[in-house]
Amino acid sequence: MCCSNNLTEKDLLPGKQDTSYLERIKGMRFFDPHIHMTSRTTDDYQAMADAGIVAIIEPAFWLGQPRTGVDTFRDYYSSLVGWERFRSSQFGIKHYCTIGLNSREANNEALAEQVMEILPLFIYKEGVVGVGEIGFDDQTPAEDKYYRLQLELAKEASMPVQIHTPHRDKKKGTSRSMDIALEHNLDPYTVIVDHNNEETVKEVLDRGFWAAFTIYPFTKMGNERMVEIVKQYGTERIMINSAADWGISDPLAVPKTAALMKDHGFSDEDIRMVTYQNAITAFAQSGQINVDDFTVAQGIDQSEKFEGNTILRGGQQPRVDKNSMIIK
């Protein structure tokens, strides 16, 4: 989630797009384990597919303004397993999600109670790979309460947990999130601690958790810093994501970071671990990820017919030439 950015005039000038990095990662497959496609356009989906992203996880989150009733939560969760999943499939990208009550809205306790009641309706659904994103924002008692309740829910359902660590007071908030997870007897190997930085990564890895990094301009990690972190800590239990959402963010953060790693001389195998495999290993503990499904989604020829009829499998979108002035 984005905060206030210190933009200058220069930052706002239209830039030239340099897509040459795509050449250097040609043929690589990427998995973005944190991206909010609900807030993104079909152009993003197209660009992601073109850059080699084959699968994504969309964590349930705060939509930018608070919800006022349980029905809007239910509709949101059902759109994550319904409409958004379909939208993604149209671009050959396999869509998974995590379901949870985010930390900000945990502070509306009357509503949070009702949301907790409907969560079990969703966490057992096909393609739901964890409880998330949950954790702390302000680190209030209410946030603490619903974080714990959802850890119990994850334990009962044998699901991984995707933890959102706070922007403010991050270091302490991250430690506290892990303390509580251990207090509830969760195996750290099933817990993905997200939005790490140079200050938090060591403790997260030392304690046996997965460390996820969000490449998000201005407020979280830049990918040059990310490259340094992988140099220092290696690739074990490290994964990167874009967390692209309604703020100024980049849905191509994962492939771009892969290209940057390539430029810094990392092996293809190292790149594969942090931009693809580790996220799969961590979230596949839900029993809900089948890598063969990516190939099925990707290998679709747009002219291929399903059951002998004209419906493109999964209703794939025909390609549009973006550079053409003529719109047919």
Binding site: S78, V81, W83, F86, Y124, K305, I311
Partner: protein
């Protein structure tokens, strides 16, 4: 409660399910049809694909025939096995309390993921109190998810029996707009009506204006309602150099109650002959059109 023989159909479907899943999964399904516990039922419904996988159901010709005779128009051919198991599970839900039954299933719709929506809409023909689901079916036609829409529109005997004209016409129009295999709509000819025919003709004019192709099945909805106002359109299609369009015009004329249309068909003796001998039907034309698109 049911508009078909529930005992016989559930027996046949159970037989097909048991052929397509392991004994272990079959037992698991049985154990979890516990009526008393809604939470358990919902979780079983959600968990089915993770247990069964999604391979296509294999079914014998005899079983297919039996299903078709028990519930005309209903088919499970080509279904993925998870959908079949879900529909079987829905058939086991206690239907004695109508209110409770309706609420349980409606709640499944409200939280359904894509595959669950497909299974739920595919199950409409076998649900108890069939008239209760007309609104839900009409709502489904508003879906923007192509695969969900297809399970309502194609090979589904529910809509033509229970939808009112307004909803039915939307279904047909949606089928054209979203490029579904229209010839697989069940009950198409029986439900054709003047209002739909007029709208289809307007739609054809829009397509022509935009320089876009027209699905030849469109004229199937017009045939019985050919009159002096739209006959020029039929003549235009008949004059097409495209063989499929020409055949569509011929079939429409064959359905017409308008003498000039009948005469037009007779002046094309080869097409008239093919129709007479069932070598040209709307179904054959539909399949041919799909092959051309492919």
């Amino acid at each position: 409660m049911f508009n078909y023989s529930w005992e016989q159909l559930t027996k046949t479907i159970a037989e097909v399910v048991s052929q397509n899943v392991s004994g272990e999964i079959w037992n698991w399904l049985h154990e979890n049809t516990n009526q008393a516990n809604t939470g358990r039922f919902n979780r079983t419904f959600a968990a089915i694909p993770s247990k069964t996988g999604k391979a296509s159901v294999s079914i014998t010709n005899d079983q297919q025939k039996q299903i078709a005779s028990l519930l005309p128009g209903f088919t499970i051919e080509g279904w993925p096995v998870d959908r079949l198991c879900r529909v079987w599970l829905l058939m086991q839900l206690d239907a004695t309390d109508q209110q409770k039954y309706f609420r349980s299933i409606e709640n499944l719709f409200l939280t359904a993921d894509v595959n669950e929506q497909e299974a739920l809409y595919a199950s409409l023909p076998v649900l108890a109190y069939p008239e209760l689901w007309a609104k839900r079916c009409a709502e489904g036609i508003r879906s923007n998810i192509g695969t969900v829409l297809q399970t309502i529109i194609c090979d589904n005997p529910y809509p033509s029996v229970y939808l009112d004209d307004k909803a039915w016409n939307q279904l047909v129009l949606k089928a054209f707009f979203t490029e579904k295999p229209v010839h697989r709509i069940i009950g198409l000819d029986k439900r054709n009506n003047k209002e739909l025919a007029d709208t289809l003709v307007d739609y054809a004019h829009e397509r022509w204006a935009a320089g876009r192709a027209i699905n030849p099945q469109l004229w199937r909805g017009v045939g019985r309602f050919i009159n002096e106002n739209n006959f020029d359109d039929i003549k235009r299609v008949f004059d097409s150099t495209d063989k499929i369009e020409q055949a569509a015009a011929a079939l429409a004329c064959n359905d017409a109650n308008y003498t000039p249309a009948k005469e037009l068909l007779q002046s094309h003796s080869r097409l008239a002959d093919e129709i007479k001998n069932d070598r040209l039907t709307w179904w054959i034309l539909g399949e041919r059109y799909m092959t051309v698109l492919a």
